[in-house]
């Protein structure tokens, strides 16, 4: 199981040399299991600009959470309006924010404030297939990888060339999608910067149990 190396960085105490120009480079993100480019992955640099709390909403329509993934700043308020003709029971057990919106139709009584950074996975207790993610961060994401898994980045650099910068990557199909994968890159930065995360294969659709039972039938 791919485990990102966690390096404890206290950003406030890290010396930032203002004199140096940030280095531009291209991040290439691939799936470590298949070698395919990882498309539409969120990349967040430690050196990124601070994110301001906002108000957002994730609607339930056609038994789906829209948007599927929402990146928000800490302390943002998120509302979960129900646009379906069925009730939903939206909840999350993620440590970053455990909440439980009992069955409702229309709009819940009040939006939920996400006061911890982290990945919050949301689901519906009635519809197992419904899944959504909220990425609560303090930093504005640097961007999303394109169809080739590429993203141009500007990493901080120091004059003496000893800078190191942390970056986090997240994709909903990462095998451990409960947190962001964390990388530390040292100067001189490689060009392109090749990083890899482990993805689960795309669900073929259908119920998990049906797959199991199908396998037993074949025995």
């Amino acid at each position: 199981m791919y485990r990102p190396i966690i390096t404890l960085i206290i950003a406030l105490t890290s010396p930032i040399c203002l004199g140096a120009e940030p280095t531009g480079l291209t991040l290439v993100l691939t799936d470590s299991t298949t070698g395919q480019p990882v498309v539409n992955a969120v990349v967040i640099l430690d050196s990124g600009t601070e994110n301001q709390p906002t108000e957002a909403e994730i609607i339930q329509k056609n038994r789906e959470f829209q948007p599927h993934t929402l990146v928000i700043a800490r302390n943002s308020k998120v509302d979960f309006p129900n646009r379906d003709n069925t009730q939903h029971h939206v909840y999350s057990f993620s440590p970053a924010k455990v909440f439980d919106l009992e069955l409702y139709a229309g709009r819940p009584e009040e939006p939920i404030t996400f006061d911890q950074t982290g990945v919050v996975e949301i689901g519906c207790n009635i519809h197992d297939n419904m899944q959504g993610f909220l990425l609560v961060t303090d930093v504005t994401p640097a961007g999303y990888t394109d169809d080739q898994g590429l993203l141009d980045l500007h990493l901080p650099a120091s004059a003496d060339g000893s800078a190191e910068s942390g970056l986090r990557v997240w994709h909903p199909r990462m095998t451990d999608n409960t947190r962001m994968a964390r990388f530390t890159v040292n100067q001189p930065y490689p060009e392109p910067l090749e990083l890899a995360v482990e993805l689960s294969p795309e669900p073929a659709g259908g119920d998990r149990l049906d797959g199991l039972q199908k396998r037993f039938r074949e025995l």
Binding site: H89, F93, E121, D176, T178, L209, G211
Partner: protein, 757 residues
């Protein structure tokens, strides 16, 4: 015998049939049992394979069922909430509750880092969570069999996925008897879970069970197996029951086969035995009627053949009997038939008369006129005899030209008359093929049982009488009583003589011959004596004659020659200067080997050969003069003295005497015994001496009985004297004493009475 045959035949048939049936039925039965046995095994294997498939299916369905249940459990919101609450007791109780719902023995909830979030029940010590989770991540769930505390447990891992909740639920389910019972029920085998070291073999066969072992875990010291067993008791019992049935069937078939064989044997055997009895009766000479045989074919043929055999046997027996008891030329009974009639006559004890007729010179008739003619003569003779004989008499041809007749008892005169009548009838001229022909015949008569007591005597006495009749040329001869006894005595002497010679039981005596001029003991004449153990003293005349008749004379002479030579060598060794004189038989002279025998016997003779005198009778010289002369010449060449014995009794021609190479004449004692009183004898003896001296021969006188005779002979110039007056014959051992006695009488014997002129 018959029983043995019966048992033998039936026994063989029964044995063969029963053995055949036994071999066939036992082979079939054995094969059947083998196939049954193999079949049972194959069926058991098939059933066990089925059992294994059923067990796999059951286990898979159970796993599937448990998975479904667990899937429901991990989706339960309350459960998820309890887990997500982070409150351990709450989580534990929720897990325990769910584990009870799904019937898990134990359950544990792990997060991604394998940290325990909740647990229920007692977890086993060694818990392969890592492997299980790896497998579960791969395929979404995992299930494996394991052994905990010697008990089979199925471990199932299933992910717990809720928004924001990532965990793994691992639950253990006992593989208990309910499950194995289900498998047993479905597969018809006895299923049970077993832990322990597994065996390599997947199929085991023991006396009680067929066993299939299905390994549910990897093999190891504590592996889990599913044992599928089929109890063989029922099928074996079945098998044995069938074996017993087959054996019963085989036994029944065998008994039936034996019964059928017995019946066949009886049906075949009875006629065979009847035929055997029939054949035996035929063999015993009876004339049985053939047994009734219903069955046709070979047995009927056999009966037919036996019947034919019987009639042919009868015919051939009749032929043989007739041939054996009849003469084929005349058709009369033959010798055997006549003798058996004679035997019956003897055993009946009735007296009867016997006549015998022999045609003289039948062999001449055969030789000159041919055998056929001779046969016709015989037939004519037999016809005439049959005509002449009264009824109640028996006629038989018993040999070449010999006919025997038995008539009822008659007196001597009647018998003689009848014999003469028969002889005349036979001798009267015959017409044979228009040839007038007359023959001579010899007749003998015997009165039975006066003249003979049994058939042997009859045969012997008939022959004797015929011989006598031919010798005496009598027409009719009656048997003389006693004649046969003499004949028997002669036979005995002849037969015992050889033994006497080889057994050295003949005695030699020696009678001295004296030189008459000086009365000195000059020579001893060897005289043979035989004391027969049964017949007593047998005179030399008698047995020497018989030895000549029976051709033993050469042997006897050779024996005597050797004996005399031995005795003489003994007395010569004792200093006695005495020669020997030995009598030769007529037949000895005709034998060219005689001189060789003499030379051989006297090869160690110490005196001059002229002191051996061989005495030959006059008659011997006259019988075959040429042969005798040749032998005498050769004897003379040896140097022995030859003497003519018994001179004056044979009709020897003096001219013949002149030619003979003899040196001595021995005057026969008949002229000497009464010489002193018979003037005729004196004349004969004196002239004989003169004649012999004229021919240059010496003279020996024997039978000198008194001094007067001795003196007369001495005066006439006779050279040698011998007689009882001088000495009787004595044994060789007494010669010495005899010589002494004779020398004592020398004066007496040489004394000459002076007669006055």
């Amino acid at each position: 015998m018959a029983v043995a045959h019966r048992i033998g035949f039936r026994g063989r048939l029964v044995t063969v049939m029963v053995a055949l049936v036994a071999v066939v039925s036992l082979s079939i039965g054995g094969l059947l049992m083998l196939y049954l046995f193999e079949d049972e095994k194959v069926r058991a294997k098939e059933q066990l394979r089925l059992g294994e498939r059923v067990a796999d299916e059951v286990l898979d369905r159970r796993t599937s069922l448990i998975l479904s249940r667990l899937d429901v459990v991990v989706r339960d919101f309350g459960f998820r909430s309890a887990v997500a609450s982070g409150d351990r007791p709450t989580a534990d109780s929720a897990l325990a509750n769910q584990a009870r719902r799904v019937g898990a023995r134990f359950a544990v909830l792990l997060d991604n880092d394998s940290t325990t979030l909740a647990e229920s029940g007692t977890l086993p010590d060694q818990f392969p969570s890592g492997q299980l989770l790896a497998e579960a991540r791969q395929s979404g769930y995992a299930s494996r069999m394991a052994v905990f505390e010697d008990e089979g447990v199925e471990l199932i891992a299933i992910p717990v996925e809720a928004p924001g909740l990532r965990a793994w639920l691992i639950a253990g389910f006992s593989l208990g008897t309910e499950l194995s019972d289900v498998i047993s029920r479905l597969s018809g085998t006895e299923a049970q879970f077993r832990t322990g070291a597994g065996s390599e073999a997947s199929f085991l066969e023991s006396t009680q069970y067929f066993t299939r072992i299905v390994n549910l875990t990897e093999n190891g010291p504590s592996a889990l197996h599913l044992l599928l067993q089929i109890n063989r008791e029922a099928s074996l019992a079945n098998y044995y029951r069938r074996a017993v049935e087959i054996l019963l069937l085989v036994s029944t078939v065998l008994v039936l086969a034996a019964l059928i064989a017995l019946m066949i044997a009886r049906n075949m055997g009875r006629p065979v035995l009847q035929l055997a009895d029939y054949a035996r009766a035929i063999g015993d000479g009876r004339t049985p009627s053939p047994p009734p045989i219903r069955a046709g074919g070979e047995l009927a043929q056999l009966r037919q053949a036996l019947g034919d055999m019987l009639s042919k046997l009868r015919d051939r027996e009749d032929q043989i009997r007739h041939a054996a008891s009849h003469d084929e030329i005349t058709g009369l009974p033959n010798r055997n038939a006549f003798l058996s009639q004679l035997r019956e006559q003897f055993s009946s004890g009735r007296p009867c008369s016997l006549l015998g007729l022999r045609i003289n010179d039948l062999s001449d008739v055969n030789d000159t006129l041919g055998l056929e003619f001779g046969d016709k003569v015989l037939r004519a003779v037999s016809a005439r005899l049959a005509d002449q004989l009264p009824d109640m008499s028996t006629l038989a041809r018993t040999g070449g030209g010999e006919f025997l007749m038995m008539t009822p008892e008659q007196s001597e005169e009647e018998l003689e008359a009848q014999a003469n009548g028969l002889r005349l009838a036979v001798e009267s001229p015959l017409m044979i093929e228009t040839t007038p022909f007359s023959l001579r015949c010899t007749m003998v008569t015997l009165q039975l049982p006066a003249d003979a007591m049994n058939t042997d005597q009859v045969r012997r006495r008939l022959n004797l009488t015929f011989e006598q009749a031919q010798k005496n040329r009598q027409a009719v001869t009656h048997y003389q009583p006693g004649h046969d006894e003499t004949h028997l005595r002669e036979l005995q002497i002849i037969s015992d003589l050889h033994a006497a010679i080889t057994g050295n039981s003949l005695h030699m005596n020696y009678q001295p011959k004296l030189e008459m001029a000086c009365a000195s003991f000059h020579q001893a004449e060897a005289l043979v004596r035989w004391i027969h153990p049964e017949l007593g003293f047998i005179s030399p005349e008698e047995f020497i004659l018989l030895a000549e008749k029976s051709g033993q004379i050469n042997e006897l002479t050779r024996h005597i020659l050797h004996r005399v030579a031995e005795d003489a060598s003994e007395w010569h060794a004792a200093g006695l200067d005495v020669g020997v004189a030995i009598n030769l038989s007529t037949l000895d002279l005709t034998r060219p080997d005689l001189p060789i025998d003499v030379a051989e016997a006297f090869s160690r003779w110490q005196l001059p050969m002229s002191r051996i005198t061989l005495e030959v009778t006059e008659s011997a010289l006259m019988d075959d003069p040429e042969a005798a002369l040749a032998t005498l010449r050769r004897l003379r060449q040896l140097g022995v003295t030859l003497s003519v014995d018994d001179f004056g009794t044979g009709y020897s021609s003096l001219s013949q005497l002149r030619k003979l190479p003899v040196q001595e004449l021995k005057i026969d004692k008949s002229f000497v015994l009464h010489l002193d009183t018979e003037p005729q004898d004196q004349l004969i003896v004196q002239s004989t001496i003169d004649m012999a001296h004229g021919l240059g021969l010496r003279v020996v006188a024997e039978g000198i009985e008194n001094l007067e005779s001795w003196n007369l002979l001495r005066d006439w110039g006779c050279e040698l004297g011998q007689g009882f007056f001088l000495s009787r014959p004595v044994a060789a051992t007494d010669l010495q004493a005899t010589e002494q006695l004779l020398s004592n009488r020398q004066q007496e014997l040489t004394y000459t009475e002076v007669t006055l002129p």
